[in-house]
């Protein structure tokens, strides 16, 4: 909770800009030198998708204190909204071959479809929020979980098959890569578009949290009764947080569809919500940078680094216990360790600052000399 002096603030901004520029340079380099199917590309893409959803859930659970478990449901709406408007025109009949003539038979530009996806999720969340936001903590959790399950059933229902393709996957979707293939940006079409969407979404959420509305959210989280007594309209502010969170979850869902390339309702179960919630916890409830960091770490370890645990050889060790499913066991144990012993996650409710890193690096020699515990990473509000 240290407040930076004006001079430090300036330094911090400079550091942030440098970091950001470096990050973009790295991404451009990755996009230019990698194949679109390289693991690093896939992991970064999926990390972006998760970062959006995780941050959106953190807005709700971490900053407003509403324990909602409906994230998968809103992602589902986003993914479907995006998909029905993004099927390749030539393949549409084939995709819907089991469901009858498709109702929607045109393709929208990719960005429009993504925004539409967010809006649809926001609309649904508004309707769902009207009854359920009055509920208290765990009841709210179970009610939102229930709504997500109901939504999934409805989407899969064959009576809506001509829109949603029922239980059949919607494939042949529009992708950034296809859109940018013949343009000057062809070499920037793998991670960069995902990254841009993620930066915009997370940026907006961050701005909101730092606005007067964000303070009102935190007030509700800290003490509902006091917040109401200070003139904060609980119903309205909870709804704002819920709808905003769902809007970005919807966008996350749409991006998920872009990432997978096809959409199917089956993966959007409560298990997905739990996964996202656990990433929020790992990153630190109430920390945006923690959420982002945790998303990328989680995806990278799950999809990439720890794969060896499943296939017999991990870090050069071969053992018969490394067989299918072991990775998930290790994963759940790590998560339990976090939940029980590092309840504040990687970042707690603090934020990461590039100035902090800069100082940490500068102080590194001194630290090695013995002052181990002192100021490794400066933190800032």
């Amino acid at each position: 909770m240290k407040i930076l002096s004006p001079a430090d603030k300036k330094k911090n901004t400079v550091c942030n800009l440098i970091m950001f520029a470096a990050l973009i340079a790295v991404l451009i380099y990755i996009d230019a030198t990698s194949l679109s199917v390289d693991m690093i590309v896939k992991v970064l893409q999926k990390g972006c998708v998760y970062a959006i959803v995780v941050v959106s859930m953190n807005l709700l659970n971490g900053f407003t204190g509403l324990f909602s478990l409906g994230q998968a449901g809103f992602m589902l709406i986003g993914a479907y909204m995006y998909s029905v408007f993004s099927v390749d025109n030539a393949s549409r009949e084939m995709v819907y071959s089991f469901s009858g003539k498709p109702v929607i038979n045109f393709q929208l530009p990719i960005i429009v479809a993504i925004i539409l996806a967010g809006l649809a999720a926001a609309l649904f969340s508004f309707l769902i929020g009207l009854p359920v936001l009055k509920l208290k903590s765990d009841y709210l959790a179970i009610a939102t979980l229930g709504f997500a399950e109901i939504l999934r059933t409805i989407i899969q229902w064959d009576k809506f098959g001509r829109v949603t393709n029922g239980s059949f996957p919607i494939s042949q979707l529009n992708t950034f890569k296809a859109r940018l293939a013949d343009t000057a940006f062809a070499k920037m079409s793998f991670v960069i578009p995902f990254f841009i969407v993620a930066v915009i979404c997370i940026g907006i959420i961050t701005l909101m949290i730092h606005s007067t509305y964000g303070r009102a959210f935190k007030a509700i989280r800290d003490d509902e009764v006091a917040a109401e007594a200070m003139g904060i309209n609980l119903a309205k502010h909870k709804m704002i947080s819920f709808v905003t969170s769902s809007f970005f979850a919807g966008i996350g869902g749409a991006l998920y569809a872009v990432f997978v390339g096809s959409t199917n309702a089956a993966p959007f179960t409560s298990a997905l919500t739990y996964e996202i919630l656990l990433i929020v916890v790992i990153g630190g409830i109430g920390s945006i940078t923690g959420s982002i960091l945790a998303s990328f770490l989680y995806i990278a370890s799950q999809e990439w680094w720890l794969r060896g645990l499943d296939s017999g050889t991990f870090m050069g060790i071969t053992s018969p216990i490394f067989r299918n499913g072991f990775r998930l066991v290790v994963f759940s144990v790590i998560i339990m360790i976090f939940v029980l012993f590092f309840r504040n996650g990687i970042m707690g409710d603090r934020e990461f600052s590039s100035l902090g890193i800069y100082r940490a690096i500068k102080n590194l020699p001194g630290k090695i000399a013995g002052k181990f515990k002192k100021s490794k990473a400066e933190v800032q509000e």
């Binding site: 229930g146 059933t153 916890v281 029980l340």
Partner: protein
């Protein structure tokens, strides 16, 4: 008739799980998300136990091991968080549920395990023109017997009185010298024991165990507990029977030729949401007002 019979039987099994939810909630104010998975684990242990020992040994073995697992989970995952915010404890419960499922996945290799046949329970019987298994008939009877026993324990024994005290006011009863940890362990013992009994009945009826077997019955039992008024044992039982019967009856109806069968689960959730919004305290629950 078939639908009703199936409903009553399922209801009985939900009731046994729902009691575990409702008791834990009553005392710790925690939705024990892992309860459904304990139920699944009990099923898996039975599968493995019967390959190693005869049936008359494996049934008590399963009951014992399940109780131990239940209490261990409480000790490891919930006890350290007793003073933490409610959200942390609930997240821990979700974590435990995730862990149990993954361990089960690893152990079974993702294959569905066939539940062993218990000779008497699995025999078929004909009543009221409907053919079914003995277990269907026995379940409601056994459930009610167990619940009566449980109510007796809570009413008349010392630990039962302590339980009621703790569920009314956690801190005060602690100050009054109630051994909180013993009471909580006892709650988990009873809850896990009933879940194990429920799992034997349930899987004898539906003899296939997969790592996710526990999640749906678990959720529905929770809905039943809420429906009956969470914290109330008779409420949980009544709620469970109502939900069991309703979800089976909905499969029998069709509106305008459109079958509603896909919505049997969705219906349970819709019911839950309606109850929460209209009467959050459930059928038999007490209304709690927040103190300012």
């Amino acid at each position: 008739m078939d639908y009703l019979l199936a409903g009553i039987s399922v209801g009985g099994q939900y009731a046994l799980i729902a009691i575990g939810y409702t008791m834990v909630y009553g005392i710790l104010r925690l939705i024990n998300f892992a309860h459904g998975d304990i139920f699944m684990v009990a099923g898996l242990i039975m599968v493995y136990a019967t390959t190693a020992m005869p049936l008359y040994l494996s049934i008590p073995f399963v009951l014992l091991v399940t109780v131990i697992i239940g209490v261990t989970i409480e000790r490891v995952a919930y006890k350290p968080l007793r003073s933490a915010p409610r959200m942390s404890v609930m997240i821990s419960a979700i974590g435990v549920s995730y862990t149990l499922q993954n361990i089960a996945l690893y152990a079974t290799g993702g294959l569905a395990k066939v539940y062993p046949t218990i000779p008497f329970l699995s025999n078929t019987v004909k009543i009221f023109g409907a053919t079914t298994k003995w277990v269907t008939v026995i379940t409601p009877v056994l459930t009610i017997a167990l619940v009566l026993g449980l109510v007796a324990i809570i009413k008349f024994t010392k630990i039962g009185i302590a339980m009621r005290a703790v569920s009314k006011d956690f801190e005060t009863s602690q100050l009054m010298g109630v051994k909180i940890n013993r009471v909580i362990s006892m709650t988990f013992v009873i809850g896990s024991f009933l879940a194990a009994v429920g799992s034997i009945l349930y899987f004898s009826n539906y003899p296939s165990v997969v790592p996710t077997s526990g999640s749906m019955p678990g959720l529905k039992s929770f809905v039943a507990a809420v429906f009956g008024g969470i914290g109330s044992i008779p409420g949980a039982v009544v709620g469970a029977f109502i939900i069991g019967i309703c979800e089976n009856l909905i499969r029998a109806v069709s509106i305008g030729g459109v079958s509603l069968t896909p919505f049997s689960d969705a219906f349970t959730f819709a019911l839950l949401i309606v109850i929460l919004c209209v009467k959050p305290s459930g059928l038999f629950g007490e209304k709690v007002t927040d103190k300012v």
